[in-house]
């Protein structure tokens, strides 16, 4: 089984020096791209490879790049790698950042060349201290070796690279909020359109890609689109870093072909559930994906199949729910996270998620009320995509709505039966006090 992203990562996780990395075949793609290929060539091989962004949304990378204006009058364009990894349950980029910094830098150089960006940033989460050191060192090495700076390898292509470490907050991972943050502003997302590809960092065309996405690029350029496509067991190309956390025997992170089943991941790699515990469900790709349950265990882990099963592949890092852990507590913990991390810009998210958290907390404390589930339902209905300003709140609703679907009894359990029957459901009993405003 090929594991292009992790094959040269040492057992002890110490990153390779530039020399070692070169010896292992590193920076080939930079030579190949800058010397023998046009930006257009690279864009088309990436497009043909069918690579989907690994940041969560699974947007086709080649397509995203194709929106960048390529006329030569634009003096500055930016490439940014999103290394803000902060989605609960997600710990995949950490490995690539800490143990393979040169692979990322290589991917960034080739990608920057592909869109003709001249300035690049690594937007790194503050907590990744070790990664910061390794990347800082690797960037310096790359400058010294002439892979960064002016006239890289005599190709005439220039690229600056800077490391920016963040100062907290999950929303910085949302690509437009990330841009605001890099501009030295509050990390509030921006409305799209205009898309960052047209008006991004400092108003200039900008591409933001996930760490894992960009780490795929050197391999695609070296070995071709077909090769990349064939790494996968299904139509969604490539390998993927898959992780499992929760009460399994051997939680961990593995590079595996796209399309392995949840069951394989859970049982073969994560060693199955801890003794005495049963699998109840899992968030397949981080905190903002829908629960999948037992019946889905044979679903293939790729963007299309997981979506067909009613969830999202997200970041590919699965959080497992066992039968001894409270579902309501589980969801309450997630809602606490999302409420804390809301940027505070738009109403439904800012006010709605804390309300949900309060309801769940009061359910857990045995103070549930008849209309509580109805209130949770309306939140899942109205904090969906498009209704809020960015995807944070819709993401937050995914575990909630699926928990309400698959584990509704667990919620009802907290509401005394008499109340359930008396004050439920709410809208029918609610009267409109004022109907005609024109009288007012």
């Amino acid at each position: 089984m090929e594991r292009p992203l992790t094959e040269h990562i040492r057992k002890d996780l110490r990153p390779l020096t530039l020399k070692e990395y070169e010896q292992a075949g590193g920076y080939q793609s930079v030579r190949k791209a800058l010397k023998g290929m046009t930006p257009k060539d690279i864009q088309s091989v990436v497009k043909d490879s069918n690579l989907r962004g690994r940041g969560g949304a699974g947007f086709l990378t080649g397509l995203k790049w194709s929106f960048v204006p390529m006329d030569s009058t634009i003096e500055t364009k930016y490439l940014i790698v999103n290394a803000d990894e902060m989605e609960p349950g997600t710990f995949k980029d950490r490995l690539l950042l800490e143990s393979a910094p040169h692979q990322l830098i290589e991917g960034m150089i080739v990608s920057a060349f592909a869109i003709q960006a001249t300035i690049s940033f690594v937007f790194l989460r503050w907590a990744y201290k070790e990664a910061a050191n390794h990347i800082r060192f690797a960037i310096q090495e790359a400058y010294d070796a002439g892979y960064l700076g002016n006239d890289i390898l005599g190709s005439g292509f220039n690229l600056e690279m800077h490391l920016h470490t963040g100062v907290g907050r999950y929303i910085c991972g949302e690509e437009t909020a990330l841009l605001s943050s890099l501009e030295g502003k509050r990390a509030t997302p921006r409305a799209k359109p205009p898309f960052p590809q047209v008006s991004g960092l400092f108003g200039k065309p900008t591409i933001v890609n996930n760490v894992e996405t960009l780490c795929c690029i050197p391999h695609i350029v070296n070995k071709g689109a077909d090769w990349f496509q064939k790494l996968s067991l299904t139509n969604d190309a490539g390998t993927k870093l898959f992780g499992v956390s929760g009460k399994v025997k051997t939680p961990g992170l593995w590079e595996l072909p796209m399309g392995i089943t949840m069951r394989e991941l859970l049982e073969e790699y994560a060693g199955g559930m801890q003794d005495g515990l049963k699998f109840r469900g899992a968030l397949p790709g981080g905190a903002s994906t829908d629960f999948l349950v037992e019946e889905h265990l044979d679903v293939k882990m790729d963007y299309v199949s997981i979506a067909a099963a009613g969830s999202r592949l997200g970041t590919g890092t699965m959080i497992v729910l066992d039968d001894k852990t409270s579902v309501v507590g589980f969801v309450r913990n997630l809602m606490h996270f999302f409420a804390q991390e809301s940027c505070g810009f738009c109403t439904p998210c800012r006010e709605g998620i804390p309300w949900i958290e309060k309801i769940l907390t009061s359910l857990e404390a045995g103070k549930g009320e008849g209309h509580d589930l109805h209130l949770l339902d309306f939140h899942t209905k109205y904090l969906g995509p498009g209704n809020t300003f960015c995807a944070l709140a819709p993401g937050a609703m995914e575990p909630l709505q699926s928990a309400l679907k698959y584990f509704r009894k667990d919620f009802e359990h907290y509401i005394a039966e008499e109340i359930q029957n008396t004050t439920h459901p709410l809208p029918a009993t609610r009267k409109r006090l004022i109907t005609d405003i024109s009288k007012f």
């Binding site: 409305a191 205009p194 008006s199 108003g203 810009f345 109403t347 309300w355 309306f378 300003f389 007012f440």
Partner: protein, 912 residues
């Protein structure tokens, strides 16, 4: 374009967003974060509607109407179940933390949040948990802060920071804990802070002066008024209850002030309520009644030797009646000779020249601005607000190129970043607009004029060239000329603030040179007072001539109309003049140095108690209406003068009975003021046979409010001068645009009901924006380029050229009397250059003693890096400051005749 709303087709203009389009059609969609002047950001999510792909799409998707451009043949639904339910929930979310304290909230009854809550149908609370609470801040004399009411629409920061350029208000923290305020308690510094009370859709920021005599807005008697505190003439709504003026609010006028007022205009009104207002006539300090007064006066006036002195802060009507009373030859403009000449010069240039003077709105749309000599933030604040918007015009092209509609505020800011269009400012010292300027030039009026002349010459060789211009200035002149030449709508701004005709002429030359190539050039002159231009357009002589007339014995009786002569003449001249007058008759509403010396004092109405027309600096004649019938013996000046004239047997005056007769007479006898009788409909005007009510239909307490005096309800006063009634009775619909006493529409109790009064959102009022422009340029140019370029300024040893410096608070007479504004008046100072301070061994706050003529002054020093050497500036209009003597040379070395000196203002602290 066609837009299907709930399956009905509507014609809508292109380029709008769905929310604007729907509101323009008269539809009701609730919203918060969107503001017509500031565009959309999509934060509140209140304005959701459904959009359908095509007529077969049954499901549709929710969109925020403020963020969605109108597309031809688009199908949307406002009434859709999901859209309605979502909007209701948005309110419900906002309400989870809102305190529901409407009963004790100043905003109650005119609250956009209340309106939107009712509109959305949310009326049942499902949220059972604790609300978050905040502590509030002290924000100075103008605004209250009650953060618990905040619904986080972000409008306040977007207005204060982004629109008005304020620095000391921002949003802090995040998630459901965001806080809008200052870094710490303190006075909000921006000149436009008061607008927060209107921009905030609920009661977080409310008018602090209103709170001191609080009245629900539905309980106010209101009239359309005009701000009296600078020459821009912003349209206001003035509200009264129990005989005192309670509030000034914005009255939308798309051409003049749009949605905003400055703090001088909003808070300057309290002089009306001053305890020491003149309320009864006085003869020789003794109160008297009407009959005694009139008979006394008719005795005086029937003798020869009566002159009248008018006023730039009195209405055309009052000035004109005075002029008629004393006769054309005996009527003097009550302004300093420099003010008189500069105003006449402005009128001449704007009438006889070929360049049009733009409205404030047009200044906002200018894509290159050159300001000569005028610190407009302090002399014409709303104009400065317009200039702030103008620098966004050129960079907006970037947005258009990227296909971003201009209403998409955050996105436009994203592409534009910190790019600004051309703005050049040449003033004596730093101004607040400098932060936006492409280049600034600090110089005396002479040198500013030279720069202007040089720019004109750079634009057109036929304009006179400036001799011995420094290399730097040549480059700057070239740069400015280039920027103006390439602009589509360049505007040149100058004014009377630096008291230099050379500067105003230089500005005219620049504008004329531009106009040759670009017909869209604009030229703005700002003046010192609200009716400076109106007065200049009415014939009259200089003030000095009045002084001479009396001192030389040609006259001995003077009628002074709403004027403190000490604000316009040199102190020594006014002293001598008043001393020489045998009879001094003053009509005014407030006590001042001139009233104190009057033999006869007549209680005049303030703007709130009067009808009148003012002409603003654009030459726009605008009417203000009496808000309430004056109490005691207070009357409009023109009404007193009519009575006095009638009593004295003046045949012309005795034929005029009311406001309209006078206005008609002005229109027929003053050639430059033709047409002013068309400013508002005549007093006989009725809609459906009814008057237009000054009070909202919910006005309460009318039958009982005077019950402590008399249990029978008195007959309401009748207005002989206008079609407005003093009560809530009358026509309920929309009045003509020039007579809107308040904005209200069913379901829209807040100021935001103005949407319903506009032809299209953010556009002109239905029926056109009020006011009539009297100054249009000559169609065939007659003005030749001005010559007479001044010599460059040279500093003199041991001398300082003292210049007046204008302040938004303190420089204008009436607003300075308002207690809230008084708190913001600067302490007296003299501003010196660093070099001059060093050479005189002075530090900040040290006292500089200087001498003008026979007078000695000492003022605390302020040091500036920007003011040129050899010049100093002192605040205009402060009682301690000799501003009427200025500009003038002062010596800093005590003159030999020291024993004759008269010390004036001496501050307490002395140099250590």
């Amino acid at each position: 374009m066609v837009l299907f709303i709930d399956n009905k087709p509507h014609e809508v203009p292109a380029g709008k967003n769905l929310l604007e389009a729907c509101l323009t059609l008269g539809k009701d969609i609730p919203y918060f974060c969107w503001h017509p002047a500031m565009g959309s950001v999509g934060a509140c999510r209140q304005c959701a509607v459904k959009v359908y792909k095509d007529e077969n799409d049954q499901k549709g998707r929710l969109v925020m109407s403020c963020m969605e451009p109108v597309v031809n043949n688009q199908r949307i639904s406002i009434e859709d179940h999901d859209a309605k339910e979502f909007r209701e929930h948005v309110i419900e979310w906002l309400m989870t933390n809102h305190p529901h304290d409407c009963a004790v909230c100043d905003e109650g009854g005119s609250c956009h949040l209340q309106d939107m809550t009712v509109m959305s149908g949310h009326n049942y609370r499902n949220y059972n948990y604790k609300k978050r609470t905040y502590t509030n801040q002290y924000l100075g004399p103008f605004l209250n802060h009650e953060m618990n009411r905040c619904i986080q629409c972000y409008r306040c920061v977007r207005f204060y920071k982004d629109y008005a350029g304020g620095k000391d208000l921002d949003v802090f923290a995040s998630k459901n804990n965001v806080y809008f305020g200052r870094a710490e308690d303190g006075i909000l510094e921006n000149e436009f802070s008061g607008n927060l009370a209107e921009v905030c859709p609920t009661g977080v920021f409310t008018d602090k002066t209103l709170k001191q005599h609080y009245t629900r807005k539905w309980d106010l008697t209101m009239a359309p008024s005009i701000c009296q505190h600078c020459s821009v003439g912003c349209n206001t709504i003035a509200g009264e209850r129990y005989g005192s003026l309670r509030m000034i609010a914005n009255r939308y006028n798309g051409d003049v002030n749009g949605y905003f007022l400055c703090d001088r205009g909003r808070y300057g009104y309290e002089f009306v309520n001053a305890a020491d207002r003149i309320r009864k006539p006085r003869i020789q300090q003794r109160e008297t009644d009407r009959e005694a007064l009139l008979s006394n006066l008719s005795g005086l006036l029937n003798k020869p030797g009566v002159i009248g002195i008018g006023s730039p802060r009195a209405s055309l009507q009052s000035n004109f009646v005075l002029k008629t009373l004393v006769g054309e030859h005996n009527f003097y403009h009550g302004v300093s000779d420099s003010e008189h000449d500069l105003a006449e010069l402005a009128v001449k240039i704007l009438r006889e020249g070929t360049v049009r003077t733009p409205s404030t709105k047009e200044v906002e749309e200018a894509d290159a601005v050159f300001i000569l000599g005028e610190d407009i933030t302090n002399t014409a604040p709303i104009l400065a607000l317009a200039v702030r918007q103008s620098v966004r015009q050129q960079p907006a092209a970037l947005a258009e190129k990227a296909n971003i509609p201009l209403w998409n505020d955050a996105a436009v800011k994203g592409v534009v970043q910190d790019k600004k269009g051309p703005l050049f400012i040449a003033t004596l010292t730093t101004t607040k607009l400098d932060e936006l300027a492409t280049a600034t030039y600090r110089a005396t009026p002479e040198c500013i004029a030279r720069l202007g002349f040089a720019v004109a010459h750079a634009l057109d060789n036929a304009a006179p060239a400036v001799a011995d211009l420094s290399e730097n200035l040549l480059v700057l002149a070239e740069q400015i000329a280039q920027a103006l030449r390439t602009a589509k709508k360049p505007v040149i701004i100058s004014g009377a603030g630096c008291e230099s005709d050379a500067v105003m002429k230089a500005a005219a030359n620049v504008a004329h040179a531009l106009q040759k190539e670009n017909k869209n050039t604009g030229l703005v002159y700002t003046m010192l007072e609200c009716n400076s231009i109106g007065l200049a357009m009415m014939g009259g002589h200089r003030l000095h001539a009045a002084f001479n007339a009396v001192v030389n014995g040609h006259a001995d009786t003077v009628i002074v109309l709403e004027n403190d002569l000490y604000r316009h003449g040199r102190k020594s001249d006014v002293d001598a003049f008043l001393k020489a007058c045998r009879n001094i008759i003053v009509l005014d509403h407030s006590m001042h140095a001139t009233t104190q010396q009057a033999h006869v004092v007549i209680p005049a109405g303030t703007f709130a108690e009067s009808d009148g027309i003012l002409v603003n600096n654009e030459g726009r004649a605008q009417r203000f209406f009496q808000v309430y019938e004056s109490k005691d013996m207070v009357r409009e000046s023109w009404r007193w003068l009519l009575d006095i004239g009638t009593e004295a047997g003046n045949t012309r005056l005795s034929t005029w009975k009311n406001f309209e007769d006078i206005t008609h007479a002005i229109a027929t006898s003053e050639p430059l003021l033709q047409g002013i009788d068309q400013v508002t409909p005549p007093s006989q005007f009725r809609v459906a046979g009814q008057r237009i009510p000054r009070a909202p239909h919910r006005y309460s307490g009318r039958t009982s409010m005077q019950a402590n005096i008399n249990v029978s309800e008195p007959k309401p006063p009748e207005d002989p001068d206008s079609p407005l009634s003093y009560t809530m009775e009358g026509y309920r619909g929309m009045p003509p645009s020039s007579m809107i006493p308040f904005f209200w529409s069913p379901g829209w109790n807040s100021v935001q009901s103005v949407n319903k009064y506009q032809q299209e959102i953010g556009g002109a009022l239905k029926g056109g924006d009020p006011g009539i422009r009297l100054l249009e340029p000559a169609t065939t140019g007659t003005i030749k380029y001005f010559e007479g370029i001044p010599e460059a300024f040279k500093a003199l040893e041991d001398h300082l050229l003292i210049m007046p410096m204008h302040h938004i608070f303190g420089s204008e007479e009436l607003s300075a009397r308002s207690p809230s504004v008084a708190q913001r008046i600067p302490k007296p100072y003299i501003l010196l250059s660093m070099d001059d301070a060093v050479s005189m061994s002075l530090l900040e706050n040290y006292i500089l003693r200087f001498y003008i003529g026979r007078y000695e002054y000492s003022l605390p020093v302020k040091v500036s890096n920007a003011i040129p050497n050899g010049v100093a500036a002192v605040p205009y209009g402060l009682p301690e400051i000799p501003y009427t003597e200025l500009p003038e040379w002062a010596t800093t070395r005590a003159p030999k005749y020291l024993h004759t000196l008269t010390p004036t203002y001496t501050p307490k602290h002395q140099n250590t």
